[in-house]
Each structure stands twice: as structure tokens, then as C-alpha cells.
């Protein structure tokens, strides 16, 4: 029996896509510079169908790629040429919300924002908030340990996953973790989260929920330069305050946001967004401390608000920054690197130098509280060689992050995009261990082959 015939036994014919045009719709994700044509796309509607599809792929030794909404910025859901895509969007049910335990059990195709929407009537919310939260799915968040502006205090996806039902790459089912915040024995859940699909597919996910904050206050401050904005962040950290988010945007990123979603930002070389939340009395007390710090930090303009609509507009400008730079240049690369927070200033100067040296403009948006940079490299792909120069600049920025003692990705993952960077910038013995772990779980390297790690054979 051929693989296609085998897959046809897993799902009804209308949910097994084999036509050229149908398959083309799945050929790429948010990292559009890579494309690959899958042999077939399976639109699964149940966990059992996913398991059967995985087993069929394993029998035929054909690689498979799980896919949600395809928002990966690192090419994490790029198909393997001639492989199978297992689409999980239709597994989108919130199975249970448990108020007392503060947990939600969801299917992997559930949209990130839908979890908070389902939890809201219970006074609860799901904290991780990647910029793509209105479309990206929990399965993808789990695979790539997605972050977001608010992970400064609340943590990444991994800090909010308690239990998983997983189909391993050979079709075997395992239960990892459960409904408790406490773990007895090795943290298998923590080991699976962020494995970029290489350890299998999550079929059910138990998430930790948090109570909705009683009070939130967002402060927007304009500065004459990035250095002054960065100094303000250092002072806030030194003061002992623990904001839930601290974001900086530079002039080019502000210009892009204004050109697209028009958040009405002050016209300035640098903007700082700080958000604090918690019990009303605490937010009031912290706001006094924060206001005094900002007033003394050389800001040219300060806006503070607790109003929901105003806060939403401030965040809309920030969260749309990636797509907004499309207004400034025909093409761009979103980079994601981490430096120690105290090296932020030096890192930005270095990016400026590298940018000038190669003649490409770079817009900077970053999670200043945790040193997570997102340089947006602008270029025109129609110019011969421009893509190569942009990629070289992106790579130089990663080398700098490692030189400064940081990391090559803070929240987008390695995927296709940073496979070579991971291989170049990881100690050989640590990289070898990753390969050993991968092959122990998936000797045939079928699950999301070619992401994170180069294929051995």
C-alpha cells in the first residue's frame, strides 16, 4: 500500500489534500523566504486521526510536519519536500476550564487568545501573549515555547504548561505531567515544551491560568534617544519594581507603527512602554514609585493610563510593529536574539554600526526588561544580492548576542532559520547531546525533520 492510500484510511477523502493548489497553500509559514511542497496535507479533526496519520508516516518512513496557523517566524512549520503536513487547526476545542485548580485543558489547534476568552467568565486568563495571539495556536506555542511582551514577570509558554498527551514520532502515546503545578520526578513536560515538534505532537494540553489582574496601569514615555530609554529601564529594575512588561521602540519602529495602525505615539527617537498590574493598592503604590522614576529619567513626554481603550491602542502599535515595517520597505527580516540586560546599550550601538556598514536600515523593537532584541532588517529583495546582505547582517547580530553572553533566540525558536547559527554557536558537546536526544526519541528523524537540527543522514 502506498502512503497516500494508507493516509486515505485515516481521514475522509475531503480532508486529505493532494491537489497542487491545495498543497501550495501550505508550502510556507510566516518565514516566507522558505518554501517546500508537501506530498499531502491531512486535515485532522481528532486526536485519533493524528495518531493514525503519524503511524502511517512511520510505517512508510516519510517525514511529517505538524502545523497550526503557520505563524512561525523561524520557519518551524515549513513542510518537508515530499513529506506530510498534519494540520491541527480543527482540533480547536477548549475541553475544560477548572476554576479551583486554575487550569484549562485544550486541544492543540486552539487559538491562544481563545483560551483567555474561555477563561474570562471565571475571572481567569492565560498569560503568555505572543504578538500573533489572535491567530497562533497553543500547539505551536508549546512546540516553540513562545514568549510575548508580558513574559517579563509571567514567564514563557513553558511556565504555563502542566500536562500533555503526546503522540511520539513512532505513534506511541504518552501522558506527561498532569493537572498539578507541582511535578514529582523529572519534568518531562518541561522537556517536551520548546522541542520544536522534534519529540512528537501534543494532542491535549493542560494550561495554567492566572486570576485576571484587579488593576493595570500602562505608562508610555518618549525619550531623546535609545540610551536614555535604556537607562530608565535600568533604574526601574534597580528600584525593586517588578513590571509585567517593559518595551522599547526606536524611531523607525515608531514611524512604521504610525504608518500602519496609527496608535498616536509621540514623535520621538525612542519610546518606552512600562506596564504594572496587580491588586489595586499595590498598583497605586507602585505607580507613584514608577512615576517618580520616569519623571526623573529625562523623558520628553509621558502618558500614563489605566483606561482599557487607551492601553489597547498603545499595545496595538507595539504588537503590530513587525508587520508594520512592511510599510517602510518591500522586504524585511525579523531577528530575535537575547543579550544580558545590562549590555542592551552596547548591543544597540553595535547593531547601529553593523547596519551602517552594510547600508541596510534596521528598526528596533525589544523586550527591554529581559534583553530580548527584535531588530527588523529592511531591504528590497528585488535588488540583486540584497537578501544575502540582509541575512549576513542578521547572522552578525546573532554572533554579537553570543559574544555578549546571550542567546540566539529568545522566543521565536531555531526552526529552519537558525539551524546553522545553532550549529555554529553551540558548544560541540552540547549540540551532540541534542542530536543524541533527538535520535533516542525519533531514530528515523521523521518528526519535523530538518528543524532546529541538521538531519544526520
Amino acid at each position: 500500500m502506498t502512503l497516500l492510500a494508507d493516509l486515505a484510511r485515516c481521514v475522509p477523502a475531503e480532508r486529505l489534500l493532494t491537489g497542487t493548489a491545495q498543497r501550495a497553500a501550505f508550502a510556507s509559514d510566516a518565514l516566507t523566504s522558505f518554501r517546500a511542497a508537501p506530498l499531502a496535507v491531512v486535515l485532522a479533526e481528532s486526536g485519533e486521526e493524528v495518531v493514525e496519520a503519524v503511524r502511517a508516516c512511520h510505517r512508510h518512513r516519510v517525514p511529517f510536519v505538524p502545523r497550526g496557523s503557520g505563524t512561525s517566524l523561524s520557519g518551524g512549520s515549513l513542510p518537508v519536500e515530499g513529506g506530510v503536513v498534519i494540520a491541527l487547526n480543527r482540533l480547536n476545542r477548549v475541553l475544560a476550564i477548572d476554576r479551583e485548580s486554575r487550569t484549562a485543558r485544550v486541544q492543540p489547534g486552539t487559538i491562544n487568545a481563545a483560551v483567555s476568552a474561555a477563561a474570562a467568565p471565571h475571572g481567569l486568563r492565560y498569560a503568555p501573549d505572543p504578538s500573533s495571539q489572535s491567530v497562533c495556536t497553543i500547539g505551536g506555542n508549546v512546540a516553540f515555547n513562545s514568549g510575548g511582551a508580558h513574559c517579563l514577570r509571567q514567564g514563557m509558554t513553558s511556565n504555563h504548561v502542566l500536562g500533555l498527551r503526546v503522540v511520539l514520532p513512532d505513534g506511541e502515546l504518552v501522558e506527561l505531567g498532569g493537572g498539578s503545578l507541582e511535578v514529582a520526578g523529572p519534568d518531562w513536560v518541561g522537556t517536551f515544551v520548546g522541542s520544536e515538534g522534534l519529540f512528537g505532537i501534543a494532542l491535549e494540553v493542560t494550561l495554567r491560568l492566572l486570576p485576571q489582574a484587579e488593576s493595570v496601569r500602562t505608562v508610555l514615555a518618549a525619550y531623546p534617544g535609545l540610551e536614555a530609554a535604556g537607562d530608565a529601564v535600568s533604574r526601574i529594575v534597580a528600584s525593586g519594581l517588578l513590571p509585567v512588561a517593559m518595551e522599547i521602540m526606536d524611531a523607525l519602529a515608531i514611524e512604521a507603527a504610525e504608518a500602519s495602525v496609527k496608535p498616536g505615539y509621540p514623535d520621538a527617537p525612542a519610546l518606552l512602554i512600562v506596564e504594572i498590574e496587580g491588586e489595586r493598592e499595590v498598583v497605586e503604590a507602585d505607580a507613584k514609585t514608577l512615576d517618580a522614576l520616569i519623571a526623573d529619567s529625562g523623558a520628553s513626554e509621558v502618558r500614563a493610563t489605566a483606561d482599557g481603550a487607551e492601553r489597547a491602542l498603545i499595545w496595538k502599535g507595539r504588537k503590530s510593529a513587525f508587520s508594520a515595517v512592511g510599510w517602510l520597505a518591500p522586504d524585511y527580516i525579523v531577528q530575535d536574539g537575547v543579550v544580558p540586560r545590562t549590555r542592551l546599550g552596547a548591543a544597540l550601538s553595535e547593531i547601529e554600526r553593523l547596519s551602517a556598514a552594510c547600508g541596510l536600515r534596521v528598526a528596533n523593537v525589544f523586550h527591554a526588561g529581559d534583553g530580548n532584541l527584535h531588530p527588523l532588517i529592511l531591504f528590497d529583495g528585488a535588488q540583486p544580492g540584497a537578501l544575502r546582505v540582509a541575512e549576513e547582517l542578521a547572522h552578525e547580530i546573532l554572533r554579537m548576542c553570543v559574544r555578549f553572553g546571550g542567546a540566539i533566540t529568545g522566543e521565536h525558536g531555531v526552526g529552519m532559520e537558525k539551524r546553522e547559527a545553532l550549529a555554529e554557536l553551540t558548544a560541540p558537546e552540547d549540540l551532540a547531546l541534542m542530536h543524541r536526544l533527538r535520535r533516542a526519541v525519533d531514530p528515523l528523524e521523521l518528526a519535523n525533520r530538518g528543524k532546529m537540527l541538521e538531519v544526520a543522514a
Partner: protein
């Protein structure tokens, strides 16, 4: 900063000479033939402005807590057994978080990087020293709760937080365990950001708030009104018992609030205490009996003191666990999990 090679080599040689060797840190009496890692001691990097700290695994938590306190910072996962001499590596290997983890999360939420010797003596690691790192598999989390059976921890990096200005504790008297669990259920969706929520059964709840000093009195009053049970404000000293649990036999159990009352009924006269809003139980019971009792309820635990275990009750991970373990310890030098 690079590590001095000697203490690591010493541990590696002992590992390769041994076979099925347990690892001993600070709190356990020296086991015969145990791998001694006490030479791996000292804070390697601590920059208060970064809110991160890196130390050798055998460093006593006391040294770390003291160094952090000098800069008004702390370990928000509130590790227990600091006074008893617990080490950073032992705390990671046992996977221990204390009552204070109710608000900001447990040890798994604060570990950033690890270096360890795998079963073949190779020094390997993952994660890093920065607060965000999504590059490669999450080996730091794999080491949390690994019980010395997946690697010998050499070095650990953690995230730290600024110390709150002040604390306030409310002792509340519920009528019994079920009343206490019902109260915890109401608190779960209330806007109070409790730093700790413990239950000393049958009905004594301890609730801790932290934050700016001036906010504590009104918040404690609002909390007492919300709970509507007899309540008294307590001194910080009441938490000492939760951090230094003292008994010859001790296990931790991963729990859910829904399973709490049933477990409590079954535990009869055995001493126990609940923390993290009903997600964690500390139990002093004969390991064999506790193992059977947890199994019946589909719960899992870890024996911290006493002979047997170390895992009790239901085990998770199945084939995934077996494959990861085979990659880290192909020659079977570490004891079975």
C-alpha cells in the same frame, strides 16, 4: 568565568569508577558509596542588575540566599531546607519549591541554565545565563526533579527577583478540611495576589501577602473580609515550620485541590501539610504505605527522607522518559528512576 577543572574531574572519576551511584549533597547523611559533590561549591556569577545568578551545584542555598539578600533580592520559588544545609544542586535534583512559589511559580519557572555530567562522564549542558533562551531542547527543566538519575549537576543558573518591601500573614480558621478547600477554591479566582497559601489540616489556612509596606494593612483587612472566618494577623516566624519540615520520613506529593480532601482522609494520623493552594503536599508516612495510597488515587510523589522510592505512586513519562534516559545514560551508571 571558567570552572576550575579539578573538582569536576574528581566527581567524574568517582562516577566512572562507581556504577549505580546515588549523589549526595548537603542534607542527607553521607550514604555509603555516594558520589560526593561537596567540592563543587561557590557562586560563579551574580550581577544584581541582571537579576540572574550562577553557582556550582554543591553551593549551600544559605550562601546564595545571603548573597542575594545583600542586594535586596531573593529566590521567589522559596526553596525549603535552607537552614538544614540544602544545596542548589540537591534542590534542583529533588525538584523542591516552597510555599512562596504560589505566586510567581516554582523552581522550574526560575531555572535558566545547567551544566552536568551525563552517564558517560561527558560535561554537557543547556540553557544559559540570560532570562530568555529558546535555543535547543530545554535541558534545565529536564534536570529539575531528575533525582541524580539523568546527570550529576555541576552548575546551575537561576533567575532572581527583587525582594518585596514587606510581608503580612493571615491565619484563618476553617471548620474542617473540606471547608478549607472550598475557601481555597473561592480564593483561586479572587484578585488577591497571595504569595503563599498553605493548609495545616484540618482547618488552619495560612495566607501571605507581600508588597509595599503601606499597602499591607488595608489588603489584609480586605482579605479577612472576603474570607469571612475567624482570622488573626501573624508574624513571619509562622513560616519557619513550612520551610524546615522536620521528620525522619518525608515525601512531597504533586496534588490538585480536587484530590486534597480524599488524600487527607486516607492519610489518617500521618503528619502532613499542604502548600501552593492545594497543589503540593508534604507527608510523613511509611513509604510503602504512601506509595500504595498515592497509586490508588492516581497521584505521584517523591520520597525525600526515609528508605525506598525515590518515586512514589503513579509514574509519568512512559516511553518518552525511557528514551531520554537511554540517551543520557546509555551504560546504566545511574540508578533506575
Amino acid at each position: 568565568m571558567t570552572l576550575a577543572a579539578d573538582p569536576i574531574d574528581t566527581v567524574r572519576e568517582a562516577l566512572l569508577d562507581g556504577g549505580g551511584v546515588p549523589v549526595a549533597g548537603g542534607t542527607k547523611p553521607a550514604l555509603t558509596g555516594a558520589l560526593d559533590v561537596s567540592g563543587l561549591r561557590g557562586i560563579l556569577e551574580y550581577d544584581p542588575a541582571e537579576l540572574t545568578l550562577t553557582a556550582l551545584a554543591g553551593t549551600p542555598l544559605r550562601e546564595i540566599v545571603t548573597a542575594l539578600a545583600e542586594h535586596r533580592q531573593y529566590l521567589p520559588f522559596d526553596p525549603p531546607f535552607v537552614d538544614a544545609g540544602a544545596t542548589l544542586g540537591g534542590t534542583v535534583a529533588a525538584g523542591l519549591s516552597g510555599s512562596g512559589s504560589h505566586r510567581h511559580g516554582g523552581l522550574r519557572d526560575f531555572i535558566l541554565g545547567v551544566r552536568f555530567l551525563d552517564g558517560t562522564g561527558r560535561l554537557v549542558g543547556g540553557g544559559g545565563k540570560v532570562v530568555k533562551n529558546a535555543a535547543g531542547f530545554d535541558l534545565p527543566k529536564l534536570m529539575v526533579g531528575s533525582l541524580g538519575r539523568l546527570g550529576v549537576l555541576v552548575q546551575v543558573s537561576v533567575k532572581v527577583f527583587p525582594l518585596p518591601e514587606a510581608w503580612g500573614t493571615l491565619r484563618v480558621q476553617a471548620s474542617d478540611v473540606r471547608d478549607a478547600v472550598a475557601l481555597m477554591g473561592r480564593l483561586a479566582t479572587a484578585p488577591f495576589e497571595l504569595e503563599a497559601l498553605d493548609l495545616d489540616p484540618p482547618g488552619t489556612l495560612l495566607l501571605r501577602l507581600s508588597g509595599p509596606r503601606a499597602t499591607l494593612e488595608p489588603r489584609l483587612r480586605a482579605l479577612a473580609r472576603f474570607i469571612d472566618r475567624p482570622a488573626t494577623v501573624e508574624d513571619e516566624a509562622v513560616w519557619h515550620g513550612a520551610r524546615e519540615l522536620d521528620s525522619a520520613s518525608l515525601a512531597k506529593v504533586a496534588l490538585t485541590p480536587h484530590a486534597l480532601a480524599g488524600l487527607d482522609d486516607a492519610l489518617g494520623a500521618f503528619p502532613r501539610r499542604y502548600a501552593r493552594g492545594g497543589h503540593l503536599a508534604w507527608v510523613a508516612a511509611p513509604p510503602g504505605e504512601l506509595d500504595a495510597l498515592l497509586r490508588e488515587r492516581g497521584l505521584g510523589g517523591v520520597l525525600l527522607r526515609g528508605s525506598g522510592g525515590p518515586l512514589l505512586g503513579v509514574r509519568r513519562g512512559g516511553a518518552f522518559a525511557a528514551r531520554i534516559r537511554a540517551a543520557l545514560d546509555p551504560d546504566g551508571r545511574f540508578p533506575e528512576i
